[in-house]
């Protein structure tokens, strides 16, 4: 069965035809060609696919596109202002918060949800918050450092 869905993605109205079983991440990557959101594990563990839906971080591999009809979605592509990176992205660059970079979009989107509710998180709070984001390069030290710095420049 197909459904017509319309949603706002990174401030733009988009619509498309999806199957019942189409996941939000498939809609973003395959229909909208927004390939910054990654699929790592596809089992809701790794967090590479984290986006914001209606202001909350969620795993876009574990929600149907049809469920997001009418939603407001932000992906990693929606953060930068032209060539100027978002302060959290800039902090990841400055602090070498990535090795291979595959987990980075999810890390950044997850970090922004943390900072929204907790503008000055401690290292412990950052590490606890990242329970749902896995870096297979194990580059956590610099990721935590980046989030701390990013939070600082956003305050």
């Amino acid at each position: 069965m197909t459904h017509s869905v319309s949603m706002t993605v990174n401030g733009k109205s988009v619509s498309g035809e999806v199957e019942s079983r189409t996941l939000l991440v498939q809609f973003l990557r395959e229909h909208l060609r927004l390939t910054g959101t990654h699929v790592g594990c596809d089992t809701s563990q790794c967090g590479a696919c984290v986006v914001h839906k209606d202001g909350q971080s969620i795993k876009s591999c574990t929600i149907l596109a049809a469920q997001c009809d009418g939603a407001d979605v932000t992906t990693i592509e929606g953060l930068a202002d032209g060539d100027t990176l978002h302060p959290m992205q800039e902090a990841f660059r400055e602090n070498h918060g990535l090795q291979c970079g595959f987990c980075t979009p999810g890390m950044v989107m997850s970090a922004l949800d943390l900072v929204k509710n907790n503008p000055d998180p401690s290292e412990k709070e950052i590490r606890e918050w990242l329970e749902g984001n896995i870096c297979r390069c194990t580059g956590y030290h610099n990721i935590v450092k980046s989030i701390k710095a990013g939070a600082g420049s956003m305050r």
Binding site: M1, H3, E19, S20, R21, L23, D42, T43, S44, Q45, G47, V50, Q56, S57, I58, K59, T62, I63, L64, A66, Q67, S110, D113, L114, W129, E131, G132, N133
Partner: protein, 265 residues
């Protein structure tokens, strides 16, 4: 994923009617278990009926000495609720330890208990606090609700609408989490309330959540960690898998019970 027909219910009655009208429908709350299950092709429903569009199913209220949590209330909302934190801090604490932040933003109490995963956290709070499960048809005592592995007293088309938790005089939840999934390898919920002491164990039992009655009577006369230190549950009734043997789970039940009693104070 096998294909299915996605339907969005607009009311509880509509959800029940959609289930009734389909060959083999499944209800979806937050989808944190159902969608991974479908992706692994472990289930093949004809229809998935989404409850998230129904207004009035999410939210927390205090009614007399009870905290009422709507079925579609997310774990993140329970964890952050001022009412839950002041009346039943152990429940907020439990919700804050489920999965990870993104799972807590989507997963719901109704979905968790209707699924009755033997390693889920919420069943232990429901049984440990002597909660009442409210559905579109009736009210069910938590002791009668969880009937076995992934099995509940719910009939087809019966929808959980809320859970009513009595406020305990003290309570605490301690779990030994699986380091990857954060599901409970063993979790113990201890509460002292108007109907005495309850000790509910999740993660360990072959039939899901159960009450450790020997610990309950020991704590009723002496609410201290020492009272349960030498009580162990029979390991023959416990789960075993690559993460923990039955013997280790039995050991953990006593350790988590002691820690929960200490935490409850």
């Amino acid at each position: 994923m096998y294909d299915f027909t996605y339907q969005r219910a607009v009311s509880v009655d509509d959800a029940a009617a959609k289930v009734e009208g389909a060959d083999d429908a499944m209800l979806m709350a937050g989808g944190m278990t159902l969608l991974p299950t479908l992706k692994q092709r472990l289930a093949q429903p004809s229809d998935v009926v989404d409850l998230s569009g129904i207004s009035g199913l999410a939210g927390i209220s205090v009614e007399g000495d009870k905290v009422v949590v709507g079925a579609m209330t997310t774990h993140a909302t329970v964890a952050a609720s001022a009412d839950v934190k002041s009346k039943i801090p152990a429940l907020a604490d439990l919700a804050d330890g489920i999965g990870d932040p993104q799972v807590r933003n989507r997963g719901t109490i109704g979905g968790s208990i209707a699924n009755n995963d033997p390693a889920a956290d919420y069943p232990s709070a429901c049984v440990g606090l002597g909660a009442t499960i409210v559905t579109n048809q009736r009210e069910i005592a938590a002791d009668d609700f969880f009937t076995g592995l992934f099995e509940t007293a719910l009939d087809d088309g019966e929808v959980v609408t809320a859970v009513k938790f009595p406020t305990p005089s003290k309570a605490a939840y301690m779990k030994f989490p699986n380091p990857a999934s954060r599901y409970a390898i063993v979790g113990v919920f201890v509460a002292q309330g108007s109907d005495g002491v309850r000790v509910a164990v999740t993660g360990a039992g072959q039939d899901g959540v159960f009450r450790a009655s020997e610990m309950e009577s020991a704590l009723a006369s002496n609410f201290s960690a020492d009272a349960v230190a030498n009580i162990s549950v029979p390991e023959g009734d416990l789960n075993y898998d690559i993460h923990a043997s039955s013997e280790y789970r039995a050991h953990l039940v006593t350790v988590m019970a002691k820690r929960a009693v200490n935490k409850a104070g």
